[in-house]
Amino acid sequence: MKQLGFRQTNAWLHTWTGLLLGWLLYAVFLTGTLSFFHQEISFWMKPELHGSVADGSSAERAIERLQQLAPDAAQWSISLPTERNPALDVQWFAQGERVGRGGGQRLTLNAATGEPLEVRETRGGGFLYRFHFELYGMPRVTARWIVAIATMVMLVAIVSGVVTHKKIFKDFFTFRPRKGQRSWLDAHNATAVLALPFHFMITYSGLLLFMYMLMPWGVSSAYQGDMQAYFSEAGNRRGAPERGAERSAGVPVAAELTAIAPLLAQAQQQWPRGAASIQVSNPNTQRAQIELREHGGDSLIERGRGQQMRFDGVTGAPLAMPATPPTSVTNAVYNVFSSLHLIRFAGPPLRWLFFISGLLGTAMIATGLVLWVVKRLPERRKLGRTPFGHRLVEVLNVGTVAGLPLAIAAYFWANRLLPAGLAQRSDWEIRSFLIIWLLCLLHPLLRSHKRAWQEQLVAGAVLFAGLPLFSLALPHSGLPASLASGNWLLASMDLTLLASAALLAWAAYKLGCHQPAATRSPQRPPRKALASAEEVSA
């Protein structure tokens, strides 16, 4: 490498870091991009909820239902319907039970009637979300390390990719279609540069979300490795201990719970977006307290964390909340980065912008992977055979770039088709995804490169197009019905599925039209079709 300049060494580094973990990064980017809409996907995957329409009295219905189900509970939690999930989720904890994640009993209610809903067992969009940083079927910590290393590699690939391009701005406005390798490079550059701030932000913030696992040495030196001391001094624990103390004091005296509607009305005055959740501790006793939480905050610096209001559960009188300390600059940097990654705060327009940027990132990785193959065709022709490494990259490219979307379509189909009573139903949905993906990785071994692309693209298009059609058979889920009632939550999912199908079909069509340039290379792979293959990510 002695003879190479700075730009060339960066090009080399970009090529090899990009290839090494490109497929994993493609999977992380695609499933991560879908995770921007994981609640919407989950909702779509639970057709039983599609008849639930929220109105002003949903909160009261939830309280009524909890009064019937668990009047003596230690705590009730109610997630109010939102624009991203119009159902009511209630959870309650029995006396003496440890209140925390995963405990208690849960029920989903129809927001319009308060009736419990029998929802099919599914991990929904949550699976895709978890997959994008914990993969599947391996210890969580191992998987997080693998994804974190891939993320670090992504950072190196992004920085070295930028260094490589002398004329990065000019390159962005250059697209030379039907020029083989040159077109691939242009497509790779365009998708990269168009959303470069996004790619950089999402990668660096991804690392920051893992930073205490990856780089615990600052805490080691300044706090002798005592993470708890660090976090408590950094002020990350908020008001948790005092609540426990309240609960343990004395024998509860029965008292009637105050009405929720006036409290919500008070909250509504202060919070234009309204309340997201209600938490009632010690309901129907004198110690009852009601806590309302705001639906998403305004400030990125506060990580979009909503404010809270606390009331006496019997009299309805407001109670003081522990003051939130002001945020320091360093904390603010972390908060802005991590909340940009998680975008809990965002409304639909920003969410779509992130989604599209994520798809561009996915396309950037896909075009990069294809470019690696296309760039080596002359070398292969000179050699007169296909080296094993080249063939391996081809197979992995088809099985990942086209295969992963196909597997996601299979996941959605499994959600629709598996019987509701099947044991381990949600596991079987995931297994369907994994089995189909595995088959997609094996399939290109048996077919020519072009055939493999074509067949997987067509299969993906058929599966995606079929999903909205299948929903027509369900009582509240059909596209005409959701469009007519203005239910954009459902309609946009169905339209996105149709758009994905159209993209895959278009890619397959272009691939079918493509005639290899016979004079230049008889066995040139179908580059035009590949050009559209990255669109698969939609």
Partner: protein
């Protein structure tokens, strides 16, 4: 390193190229991480900020430092130079930490 020089020159060009890549990769991955880790530990103590914020700032910066060393490891004029410079870079926070007694 000097001992292996003879062995090195006897190798074929491809093998030599691969060895250089291996050497630089090791440096980038291991040396880069070492530098990032030492800098984080050192800056967490040295930054003129309240303690939790110094830790947070140092940790957030570490990935940029790591990335810079990785790129440098491949861009340096020779692998040997890359190793020496990285070792020199690591020495600064390491000495600071030794001085602070934080490495024990």
């Amino acid at each position: 390193m000097l001992m292996s020089y003879r062995f090195f020159t006897d190798l074929s060009a491809t093998a030599r190229y691969r060895l250089v890549i291996l050497s630089r990769s090791l440096l980038a991955i291991g040396g880069g991480y070492l530098f990032a880790a030492l800098s984080t530990a050192s800056l967490a103590l040295a930054l003129p900020l309240p303690r939790p914020q110094a830790v947070l700032a140092a940790t957030q910066l570490s990935f940029a430092l790591y990335c810079a060393v990785i790129i440098w490891a491949f861009a340096a004029a020779s692998a040997r130079r890359a190793w020496l410079v990285t070792a020199g870079l690591c020495a600064v926070p390491a000495i600071h930490l030794l001085f602070k007694g934080a490495l024990s």
